[in-house]
Amino acid sequence: MIEGAKWRRWAFFYIPLGAFIFTLLFPFYWMLVTAVRPDSELYRPWNAPNYAPFWTAHPTLDHITYLLQETLFSTWMLNTLLISVAATLISLFCGLLAGYALSRLKFRFAGMLGTAIFITYLVPQTLLFIPLADIVRNFRLGDTPWALILTYPTFLIPFCTWLLMGYFKAIPRELEECARIDGATRWQAMIHIIFPIAVPGILSAGIFAFTLSWNEFIYALVFLSSPTEKTVSVGVTSELIRGDVFYWGSLMAGALLGSIPVAFVYSFFVEYYVAGLTGAVKG
């Protein structure tokens, strides 16, 4: 908290904080207002006499109803959920073991391997999707959830590995040594001691991985084509923009509903998430 005169607190704390919150939350507000605004208001020119862009006098659920009944939105949500959860679990599992090994085990080329994994994360998806498309086609996975479940880990595993590696390095080595003297094998020490302590790190890696898969666009756009297989990010944009016609109300309703699960996950684990990012292990 800023000490001193009242104006200092306003100038250096409340006003910047307010501006920050406003900037962060305005897009959500805009999505909400647009989603409940009737078409007659949505397509009114900006210089019309009763133009009111920031609120609506006649809220309607038409767009949301349209989204839920006339499109495959619920299917896309389910697809996205399934793909994100599966890709996250696979990546977390691999990331946990790889992160542990790279931070704790002594073996040849460990450092090089860590760097190599990191480099794979730096290859942009916009380049990687071309060879991946070929692989997906060869394995006949195109237009199935597996196309995404198996390709998302290409960027999620390096990410999880590095995040967890840093976290494991912060856990004192003695804890594990003590457990091993106490009678635990390396596996038992890992499962009973290291992983429980690393829960904040594991959760933040999981939340990040989940968010990244939930929001992913390019792979989903390239590897999936039938409307029933699509994810939310691709489904909403491809089915609600027809030619040059934007169904703004339903688009925004889709965006709003589509962001709820991620917001929910974040709010639920926010404490662990912060602890995971700041890497706090107290003995």
Binding site: P172, E174, L175, E177, C178, A179, R180, I181, D182, G183, A184, T185, Q188, H192, I193, P196, I197, V281, K282, G283
Partner: protein, 364 residues
Amino acid sequence: MARVVIRDLNKTFDGVHAVKDVNLEINDKEFVVLVGPSGCGKTTTLRMVAGLESITSGQILIADKIVNELPPMDRDIAMVFQNYALYPHMNVYDNMAFGLKMRRFGRAEIDTRVKAAAEILGIQAQLQRKPRQLSGGQRQRVALGRAIVRHPKVFLFDEPLSNLDAKLRVQMRVEIKKIHARLGTTAIYVTHDQIEAMTLGDRVVVMRDGVVQQVGEPLELYNAPANRFVAGFIGSPAMNFATVTIAADADGLLWANNEGIHIKLPAEVASRLRKHVGENVTLGIRPEDLRVASSSDPADVAFDATVEVVEKLGSEILLDVKVGPSMMAAAVEPTVLAKVRDQLRLALNPDRLYFFDGPTQAAI
């Protein structure tokens, strides 16, 4: 209860020879302290006994069984770490019970043992707390408790008191001593603090640069150090050293001389030094063997000194004095009224002089 034998133990890390040909026999129920400056290989030696570090060459035997290849869990040892290494997600009870659970002890047996250990250490009231809710001293007690409950063959201590404040350290030192007296388990204790080593150890092992310098009972190290390093390391304040030349006079008596010192050596010392006549050797005098000279002190056991620093400790006064070219510390009676830049005459106890060979630094 077990004997620990270390034979020709060596350890190299990436080309650094950290432990060199260490040989040590630790008897059943003995409390042995490894002491030395940081980087002397004492912790590495302990970690090899624990099985946390691989052995480059040599053998380690616990209870007459070679344990070189045994994982830590099968060596039946318990270790207390400097940073306590308490499991932060478990409460005190579970921390102490973990080792027993891993070894599949029954619930009732675990409960009995944990409560007994908690009673010995006076932490019954903290059993349900998490480590972060405890003070440094309590955490160290829990770490000790975790070692005790297992009834291991050997206790290993890796600088367990270094993170505690001075007062608590003294208190815990006494406690460790009591616990050892009560349980009688063989113990190996690593520290860089020579006072801890002297007060705790049945025997003390002084190490330097991976090599054992001397093994002996505390007073043996103090009274008969094997070389200059041990002499300087054991004892506080540290022993004074000065380079002197050994000279023989017409009567065949030996003298130790330098620019500030001219002292006659007693016959017993002289016999050992006779073959060093004409050579430069290192003279060692403990600060507590120096006193302010009185008129009755003969001139050949005294020398002039200039006071540079006066440290009043209460029970004694430490004088840092300049004697010829070298600096010395003298622990004198608290009644001495010395001021900075005073000229004093200091007398020494001729029977408590140490001499070390110039090139080898070994005791003569």
